[in-house]
Amino acid sequence: MNYLFICPTKLWYFSHGITMEGENEWVDLGRFLHERRYADEEKEVLIERIKIDFIRKGDTIEIHEVKLGKSMERAHEMQALYYLYYLKRLGIKAKAALHYPKLNETKEITLDGHEEEVEKAVQFARVVKSLPAPPEPVKSKKCKKCAYYELCWV
């Protein structure tokens, strides 16, 4: 889902089962919750260098994500918002924090005031996924590090 906030082309390929080796930024929240029974204990998902913590505190869930840099800040925020949105629909109270240890910064994120934005994004994702073919790739800085680079540009 967070692919959407990175690139529609990637979202399309991914949602049509064209996945790439070396893909590591993706955590399927639904699957995670299902498999791990988040409520039981504190959990940590470590995928390469991206760490996601789900911590249960009272009746609130805290999502902590450690990020390396801010180059994809917007995507990280949307991803966190999406998690919060998803949890809310399951009736689970949650908040999130993005940690940037290298910059010595933390950004708290709550869903308040962003719900509509997330809904729009989800809607857009639905449209992208339903396209008969992937949207034309648009070359940008992020392509360089993208696992779909060869597929897109060959």
Partner: protein, 326 residues
């Protein structure tokens, strides 16, 4: 860590103890770093324990087996983990629709033919080939059936082999391409390399969402993984034929590396070892890719070809076979 292909040439046992894979023979027992293995090619007499196979399946490592004569026998192709229902349907659709199938079949033949042309130019024996090719590619365009496509392909090959022969040293002429069994040294060498190339293509397909059993030029079911045969056509001239030529021209492979048997002429064990060594070096070599603007290994070119095919099937971009620019 960059993953590498592992070739097991000697006899022994492949087994797993705890979380380590070992190759054991009379002399020693070597641990193999499984995380660094891309795929495995087995030429020796190797016993594999089921635990080892389970382990390899878990890690998604394909194993290719070659017989006593160095020819492809079969593969251990672990249960596929990469699935795309959408792509499988597209693959089938392009097989079932005669127009779509013909289009792809022709593209594979065209790619193969253009690469043959590139080789002849390189070797300086391209006399008259361009003209013949133009005529034959014209016929290819007109072909309405797969058998007709195959027919044209066979004639292109004939033109190619006769010229290629002019470039080969005395004693290593192909004269007439014979497969089962190869009747002379050059035929044996080409068959051996093609066999190895086929397995490389299969490994690359394994790492994509393409279903290797649905093919276009070759009939699915003719051999199990017939899509690897289709893609091999494009790469045979570029990879196998070039290596074969170089090996005999440079005298790396000599008459003594062959033996005659009931099964025709075959490479000796030492001959096979030498060829594989050169094959592996060649596939690890990089070339600059004009489209991607980065260096890619020759092995990776096979993967890129698979990506191009995926894009064709999904309707993103029409497949254009690789024509060697290097």
């Amino acid at each position: 860590m960059r993953k590498r292909s592992l070739t097991l040439f000697s006899d022994g046992n492949l087994l797993r103890r705890e979380n380590t894979l070992y190759f054991e023979n009379a002399n020693d027992k070597k641990p193999l770093a499984v995380e660094g293995i891309y795929d495995i090619y087995i030429y020796g007499h190797v016993n594999i324990s089921s635990q080892a196979l389970h382990f390899l399946a878990q890690k998604g490592i394909a194993v290719h087996f070659f017989n006593h004569y160095g020819y492809y026998d079969g593969s251990f192709y672990p249960r596929e983990t990469l699935h795309s229902g959408n792509l499988v349907i597209k693959q089938a659709e392009h097989y079932l629709d005669p127009e779509k199938r013909l289009k792809l079949a022709k593209l594979f033949v065209k790619g193969s033919a253009l690469n043959m042309g590139r080789n002849l130019m390189r070797w300086g024996v391209a006399d008259g080939f361009a003209g013949e090719l133009e005529k034959l590619l014209g016929e290819l365009g007109e072909a309405r059936k797969i058998t007709e496509v195959m027919n044209v392909e066979a004639r292109i090959r004939e033109e190619y082999y006769s010229r290629w022969d002019e470039h080969l040293p005395e004693g290593f002429r192909i004269v007439k391409r014979t497969r089962m069994p190869p009747e002379n040294e050059m035929n044996a060498l080409i068959s051996f390399l093609n066999s190895r190339l086929y397995a490389t293509v299969l490994s690359e397909l394994y790492n994509t969402q393409l279903t290797p059993t649905v093919s276009y030029l070759h009939e699915p079911g003719e051999r199990r993984f017939s899509l690897a045969l289709d893609l091999s056509e494009v790469f045979k001239p570029v990879i196998a034929d070039r290596i074969a030529t170089r090996l005999v021209k440079q005298g790396v492979i000599k008459k003594e590396h062959f033996r005659g048997e009931l099964n025709g002429v075959l490479l000796t064990k030492e001959g096979m070892r030498l060829v594989l060594e050169h094959y592996n070096t060649e596939l690890a070599k990089s070339v600059k890719h004009p489209g991607l603007k980065q260096n890619v290994t020759k092995q990776r070119l096979v993967r890129l070809e698979a990506y191009k095919l995926i894009k064709h099937l999904l309707g993103v971009k029409e497949y254009e076979p690789l024509v060697a620019w290097f």
